[in-house]
Symmetry: C2
Subunit: 405 residues, 2 copies
């Protein structure tokens, strides 16, 4: 008897399939393609020498190496947890080591939060569009997605999903959101924290980009505002997801969740059942690098990305059709463009790859409801200015031709 795999899988997995977009974007490794599709840092900015030095110091010391290579606690490497707690505290989220779980990038933080909170039919409150990876992580639990109720609404968590579905948390990127690059204003932050508190609803803050501000004044995170409101992280209701992927190196896969202790305790059980712990070698290396890195590291990253953002904004103004609109982010890695309504970004991607060798991500991908077909996401962190300008020039040509057709 042979296996019919599709009926062997759990029902929720039967329909899951790789996206056509992802297949198209595999092309971006090909020579000659200018890609604005990834959300990836410039590898030239990785602190390679510091990472190599830390790895050598740890692996060269038998006692340290015995820790770095052996099984370890699921919570994460103690000194790294303490370091992160210290950094969070400095930034207005007073917390202790017990409030920190180390995760495999912030993607695993989102996955674990979905596992902890969501049962089929629960609602997750999101903005539209939002981070695709969050939708992928949460969707394994078959939730519905709803928009946050408007200020002044008298709805409760129990009824703010449509059809009376209970909302379990709100997922928000306050700084330089993926995909739009936009940030919440200070007023919007205060309002959101107050609304979540009134609803009795946990806030999940994805702070992946918060260190990448290029202009304007730094604003307090939702986590900081919630700690102030509630009088501390343990009495509040925020889960803050952070990562070193954008500021040190993504492949080390080190992120974290800062949250009230009862939440961390459950998340540790999930971590243990899911993969025991993160590579201790990577945690120790990252801890050394993050603690020792010079004061010019972040400014160097910010300076590089600021110049690339400005080059792309200039190129958009020069080469995109007058009817297109785009965001002007104060930080992060993305610009979000909205095209005239008759254009379909997925069709344009095929055309752009063929005619102009330029890649981007069509915006519908980031919408929980499949809307946003005339939008697209452009990454500005990877390509040097001249390459970005050339890519936008070519893509602008495709758009002009599509509009003329």
């Amino acid at each position: 008897m042979s296996i019919d795999w599709n009926t062997a899988f759990a029902p929720r997995m039967r329909q899951a399939k790789g996206s056509a977009i992802r297949e198209l974007l595999k092309l971006l490794d090909e020579p000659g393609i200018i890609s604005f599709a990834g959300g990836i840092p410039d590898p030239a900015l990785f602190p390679r020498a510091e990472i190599a030095k830390a790895a050598q110091r740890i692996l060269g010391d038998p006692a340290l190496a015995a820790i770095a290579l052996q099984y370890a606690p699921s919570e994460g490497y103690g000194p790294l947890r303490r370091f992160i707690a210290g950094e969070m505290t400095e930034r207005g989220v007073a917390c202790g080591t017990d409030n920190i779980l180390i995760t495999s990038g912030s993607q695993q933080a989102l996955d674990f939060i979905g596992r902890l909170f969501l049962a089929p039919g629960d609602a997750v409150l999101v903005v539209r569009p939002t981070y695709l990876g969050a939708l992928q992580a949460f969707s394994a639990h078959q939730p519905t997605y709803e928009l946050l109720p408007a200020p002044g609404s008298n709805r409760t968590a129990e009824s703010c999903g449509t059809g009376g579905r209970r909302a379990k948390f709100a997922y928000v990127i306050a700084d330089f959101q993926n995909p739009t690059g936009e940030s919440l204003s200070l007023g919007e932050r205060h309002d959101l924290v107050a609304r979540a508190a009134a609803l009795g609803l946990p806030l999940v803050e994805d702070a992946a980009y918060d260190r990448l501000r290029y202009d304007g004044e730094a604003l307090p995170s939702l986590a900081a505002l919630e700690c102030t409101r509630a009088g501390g992280i343990d009495s509040g209701a925020v889960l803050s997801c952070g990562t070193f992927s954008k500021t040190i190196a993504p492949a080390l896969r080190i992120g974290w969740i800062a949250a009230p202790r009862p939440v961390i305790e459950k998340l540790v059980l999930i971590k243990q059942a899911s993969d025991l712990h993160i590579s201790t070698l990577d945690q120790m290396v990252l801890h050394e690098v993050a603690a020792a890195i010079g004061p010019d590291h972040l400014p160097r990253i910010r300076g590089t990305y600021r110049a690339r953002r400005d080059a792309m904004l200039g190129a958009l103004a020069a080469f995109f059709p007058a009817a297109a609109r785009w965001t002007r982010p104060e930080g992060g890695m993305f610009i979000w463009a909205t095209l005239p309504a008759q254009l379909d970004a997925e069709a344009l991607l095929r055309r752009s790859l063929g005619e102009a060798q330029v890649a981007f991500v069509p915006g519908a991908t980031f919408h929980a409801d499949g809307s946003g077909r005339n939008t697209l996401r452009l990454n500005f962190s990877l390509n040097p200015e001249a390459v970005a300008i050339e890519g936008i020039r070519r893509l602008g040509g495709v758009l002009h031709r599509a509009l003329a057709a």
Copy 2:
């Protein structure tokens, strides 16, 4: 409004809590404790110099480092997948790169398999006792656990759970099982593969210990037998979970699943949503070390653990009560002891920690149904012979006193 976290969590998570045993075993780090509790390799056997050299070579080369530190495909590092496919092929499981997914140790392999196959109420077929980490990974999906039907049974996968629950897969460790140390005979392997095929049921083989054989003849894995039966991995129904944790270093967290391509394709989607990918640096380091390691590496591990097993078996014969029984494993890391029925291993652990400073894991932990209260698991891989003998001598004293009471 403050949060009642317990009602905020998904119902399946509300009852989850850390085990009392785990709390007790945190004591094992204290000086003076002799621990047989872990399932951990001797760090003196880690190929530290080779790991350091590989890390330095990769991080010292800007082109390699740019790969090692950047985002990477969810499937895993190509050369490592190819290497594993080659090793599997050599060992009777002919497969290609597309049949391999890299996971964070074999724990993540088990977690992903649970996610892919299980819905609440599905049955998983297991032996009793079995690996605790597998039960933890699968239990997130609220399955029931059933024993494999006896040979000659005419039940089908649809009806081999009690109450007509559908069995989704059988989970088996054929070599040096955790916790008992026992292996399936060749006849039992053939029988199991035939029974699973007759039921139309996937076999999940956990091969974590298969390289650690100290005596006797190597037997074909279930995966190898299933490939022979079905004419290839893609037409068969086996998922083989492997790991480098026991032979290179656990903290690098590198394991894999070898499976038919339709299964790998779904697992890659799960990987992507769960943590994007494994640390590329660790994958590249591990690939270099595994490919370059000398022919004396595995024999050295085997020789060390063989001597430790023999010392523990000798001490058990010398110091344990005559009424106790234990396994004599041909490999792996564990001996399983069965005490007279009136003894409770959890109560004995408390007493042993207090009176003798010796730790072990009570056997009920490994039973899906809570039976096995008079059993215990003893790890023999970590402690040098003299320490193991002293620990068994002290533990034997506790047992003699408990029986005399």
